[in-house]
């Protein structure tokens, strides 16, 4: 079992992701292809290996996902535009300093068109609403520099109504608290400078309770640990400035134990199949708790901290100091 982060293996794993186009699995995941590209790119950035994937090829792929009718991005060429894939496109273009390729006014219109009277966002024209899409809408507008076009009170009032008796947040009003939904609500509040809406003490405690004896984090009480919660829980705690409420040594051991030392990549828990989603959230979690040799990640946007700082968007979150050695 690996006791260090196998950076070279993970880089090779990410580089190989586009190779198996004959695999059924490749085609079955077309609906999240653009998201997967963002996950892979961001993971490379955290590992200081951004150049491992070709910039021009990636930008071309992003632009090939443009849905001209909607004025936004789908997850794959010829797929309908969706708010989540649009956010991923914006994130990729910003990391590659290519935002000028975007028709910003059209994209802003698309995002705002999905804002509901209740304050939540729909994901696309088919109307599914979720606090995840609220985060996507707020983050996308913020990254494009058009947050001023958003009715902030309306948006915050929806998040306020999602606050549960345990301090957590769900995917809509009344829904069970779930760590991923906590991240999107707390992240959105951070971007909107309305963190005072959250009950920091109770929520911080609820998040700290996600850690199990094996060091891994779960998403809600009595569920199994999963590496991706290393990001959802950690980023929320970092935003609330309570990261030290988690035992980072044990969490680190858990994430490292979920690596595949042969093929590279990280899975949800030890000895399961790896994927690029868990690879990103595993290394992002390690970065937030100060694992040596990694680049800093901004927990609000899940993008390189240097990129967000340069844009003047950094909020008051706190990560653990990066260790010089293991």
């Amino acid at each position: 079992m690996a006791s260090t982060l196998l950076v070279d293996r993970h880089v090779s794993y990410i580089q190989s992701l586009g190779d198996n186009k004959d695999d059924l699995a490749y085609h079955m995941t077309a609906h999240l292809r653009l998201n997967a590209v963002y996950w892979g790119l961001t993971a490379l950035c955290v590992m200081n290996r951004k150049d491992a994937l070709d910039r021009e090829e990636m930008i071309d792929f992003v632009m090939s996902c443009w849905d001209e009718g909607a004025g936004a991005f789908g997850s794959h060429p010829d797929h309908d535009a969706h708010l989540h894939s649009t956010l991923s496109a914006i994130q990729i273009l910003i990391i590659h300093d290519a935002l000028d390729r975007l028709d910003v006014p059209r994209v802003v219109d698309f995002i705002l068109s999905l804002h509901q009277p209740s304050g939540v966002f729909a994901g696309d024209r088919f109307g599914e609403t979720d606090t995840r899409f609220l985060y996507c809408g707020v983050a996308a507008l913020s990254l494009l520099g058009h947050l001023d076009k958003l009715d902030v009170e309306q948006t915050v009032s929806y998040i306020r109504k999602c606050k549960n008796f345990d301090g957590g947040y769900g995917n809509c009003i009344g829904a069970e608290s779930h760590a991923a939904q906590v991240f999107v609500c707390v992240g959105a509040l951070a971007i909107l400078d309305r963190l005072e809406e959250a009950d920091h003490q109770t929520l911080g405690w609820w998040l700290a309770e996600r850690q199990l004896a094996n060091g891994g984090l779960n998403g809600r009480p009595e569920k199994k640990e999963d590496v991706c919660y290393s990001f959802w829980v950690l980023s929320a705690l970092s935003i609330l400035n309570k990261l030290n409420w988690i035992n980072s040594e044990k969490l680190s051991e858990f994430i490292l134990s979920a690596q595949d030392p042969d093929s590279g990549g990280i899975s949800d828990r030890p000895n399961n199949m790896v994927d690029v989603f868990h690879t990103l959230f595993g290394v992002a979690g390690l970065s937030l708790i100060g694992y040596p040799g990694l680049d800093d990640i901004d927990p609000v946007y899940c993008m390189p901290k240097s990129v967000i700082e340069k844009m003047g968007l950094k909020k008051g979150w706190v990560a653990l100091e990066r260790r010089k050695a293991l």
Binding site: F165, G174, W205, N247
Partner: protein, 243 residues
């Protein structure tokens, strides 16, 4: 659709599609449509729970049906349904959350107008479930939630909590029906109980005892969260300095 939803129950769009279908059907005939279709849908959801009793989308969808159509004939089946789910798995956090939603967060049901009575019922139910599995977080969170919501002091359940903070089961042969003790073989002391008692002691101004309980958690019973318990000790002692 039923087969697809059961096989792909972790897919978000499947549930949104069902919402769209129900909305369409009822928009055509809002008044005349009988609640049978909705009751059938609730039964379908129950079937899906046999596959995955904690499926997040399914619980969220059930809540949507209840609040969107808001018919008494639907609400009345909920408490028995929740008791069945919790009966099958007392650790089902989704079921506990749903209970809070039904009892406290979605208006007052017919027959539940006496809120004092409802609170007594809920506290009694929760105590019974804690007794079955004292280390299970969900009912403890639920207990905190209902006490917070009704602004009932935590110390009102002190007598119930104390036995769960001891290392051994009580040998007392007198059965206190109001305060069911830990079930046989339960792992004691129960971490959530120790935390609860620490909060009670803190609220009573009994700072040294509260500190001792937090120390027991951080050094002994729940070491993974030691830094959080150290924070609680500092905070509790800070409160004592203020008073």
């Amino acid at each position: 659709m039923d087969e697809i939803a059961t096989v792909f129950l972790k897919n978000y769009q499947v549930w949104h599609h069902r919402r769209l279908l129900l909305t369409y059907i009822y928009s055509k005939d809002p008044g005349t449509k009988s609640p049978d279709l909705l009751l059938k849908e609730l039964k379908f959801i129950e079937k899906v729970f046999e596959e995955d009793s904690k499926n997040y989308h399914t619980w969220s969808y059930r809540q949507w049906i209840l609040s969107n159509f808001n018919r008494n004939s639907l609400w009345v089946v909920e408490i028995p349904f929740i008791e069945k789910m919790i009966g099958q798995d007392v650790r089902n956090n989704s079921a506990w959350h749903h209970r809070f939603f039904v009892v406290f967060d979605s208006g007052v049901r017919q027959g539940d107008e006496d809120r004092e009575d409802v609170l007594r019922r809920e506290i009694s139910y929760t105590k019974g479930k804690i007794s079955l599995a004292p280390n299970n977080l969900s009912p403890w969170n639920y207990l905190r939630g209902i006490l917070d919501r009704t602004k009932t002091p935590y110390e009102s359940v002190e007598e119930f909590v104390v036995p769960y903070t001891k290392s051994e089961e009580s040998t007392d042969s007198v059965v206190d029906l109001d305060n069911p003790p830990p079930s046989k073989g339960a792992q004691l002391p129960a971490v959530p109980a120790v935390e609860f008692l620490a909060d009670i002691r803190g609220s009573q101004g009994r700072i040294p005892e509260a500190t001792e309980l937090f120390r027991l958690l951080g050094d002994n019973l729940d070491t993974i969260r030691k830094r959080y318990w150290d924070f609680r000790i500092k905070e509790t002692q800070g409160l004592s300095r203020k008073s």
